[in-house]
Amino acid sequence: MADRGGHGYAAIFLTFVAAYVLAVVPLPLWLQWGRPEWLALTLIYWCIALPERVGVATGLLVGLGLDVLEGAALGQNAFALMVVALLALILYQRLRVSGLWQQAAVVFVLVCINQLICQWIQNLEGVSVVPLLFLLPALSSALLWPVVLHSLRGVRRYYRVS
């Protein structure tokens, strides 16, 4: 049984690694603004599925990794994902019983908050260009939520992470 616990952490870790790769995969220029926030999606899923193991601290660690990959100020995505994780932890009981597209709507709001915090910290740094286009990832993330939910649920059941 102890072995299974370790196994679970490995599976969770690997899903985050996959999210990192998707987060930096080169995209054509016209798609760049709509890149879904893969890490936020993965984090939200694990917060709903395993609220006692994945939470604010996970958001911090995962976000720091994204900061390094993006070349952003250390702490920018970490802060945003911490807030996302906290909100997901507050909402997880409701999310578990709500329908797929209701969940997607909540995901939309959570990713919007994530993007707003990132934008806010970027403004402190002096980087900001296009108004409102930065909210596009929220839309694409919400539309992809069913796919992410089913594939991560598949991973969780396959490796019996609980």
Binding site: V17, Y20, V21, L22, A23, V24, V25, P26, L29, Q32, W33, R35, G55, V56, A57, G59, L60, L64, G65, V68, L69, E70, G71, A72, A73, L74, G75, Q76, A78, F79, M82, L86, I121, Q122, L124, E125, G126, V127, S128, V129, V130, F134
Partner: protein
């Protein structure tokens, strides 16, 4: 409550240290090295498609390409025939003028292994690092012009900021008449804004802007951009000048890192 308070304090500390005190350069270098496998994996599809494009090619395509390169080589050789005599003449003339001799810059070829996923940050990740002699502030060019400068170096990879990023500015001069100016990034890959040009300044569409060498960061004489739009509004103090970078900022896969003679001496 403690579970939230702890991480929050950590993040606020990091943000303050990074944004207001610039203390995290060395930490970032270490973390960047750890992150390089992710870039490597994310870059695999491009590598595979490139490999198939170069290795699976028809014989006629190869012959054709070979022929084209031969022709191009002939033309370039023809052009460089008088190079030696011109160069020595240039040295003599500069000696007559008592100005310092121009030294040819050395370059290092680096490959692009990633671009920043954030569209508001125009940064490139390169596969050369501290071990190859890359240093902070090193200029980056491609075949057609200046691309940017190195802003982060770790042992195996480095990050470069493009000249069109909103946080970047480069001192330039108009190649035609030597008018000096500053070209600032606009955040869009295809335009730079030349700042503080007064209404009487002689600058017009089609002018080539080259690095002026002022400020000491970029060596003199590399092409930067071509002026595409000059807007003279009588109500404004300055003329609005837009220029298009000559380098292929979004297409190049191989870039050149420039070692200038002066900076090599400092090392």
């Amino acid at each position: 409550m403690l579970q939230i308070l702890g991480p929050t304090l950590v993040v606020l500390g990091l943000l303050t240290a990074g944004l207001y005190f610039n203390k995290l350069q060395s930490t970032r270098a270490v973390l960047d090295t750890l992150a390089s496998p992710i870039f490597w994996v994310a870059n695999l599809p491009t590598r595979v498609s490139e490999w198939t494009a170069t290795h699976i090619q028809s014989r006629s395509d190869l012959l054709e390409g070979n022929e084209r390169l031969r022709r191009e080589n002939l033309i370039l050789q023809g052009r460089s025939q008088k190079m030696a005599s011109l160069q020595s003449e240039n040295v003599r003339l500069r000696a007559l003028l008592n100005s310092s001799a121009l030294v040819r810059d050395d370059v290092l070829v680096a490959e692009l292994i990633g671009v920043s996923p954030d569209p508001e940050r125009l940064q490139l990740v390169l596969n050369k690092g501290e071990g190859d002699g890359v240093f902070l502030g090193q200029p980056l060019i491609d075949a057609d012009g200046l691309m940017g400068q190195i802003v982060e170096v770790s042992s195996g990879i480095s990050r470069a900021l493009l000249i069109t990023d909103v946080t970047h500015a480069v001192p330039v001069q108009v190649n035609r008449n030597g008018v000096r100016a500053i070209a600032e990034g606009t955040g869009a890959l295809e335009s730079l804004e030349v700042r503080h040009i007064s209404a009487t300044t002689d600058i017009r569409e089609g002018d080539l802007l080259v690095t002026s060498g002022l400020g000491g960061r970029f060596p003199e004489g590399y092409p930067v951009a071509v002026v595409i739009n000059v807007e003279r509004d009588p109500g404004e103090v300055f003329v609005r000048v837009l220029a298009a970078p000559t380098a292929a900022l979004d297409r190049t896969r191989h870039v050149l890192l420039v070692f200038t003679a002066q900076q090599s001496q400092e090392d």
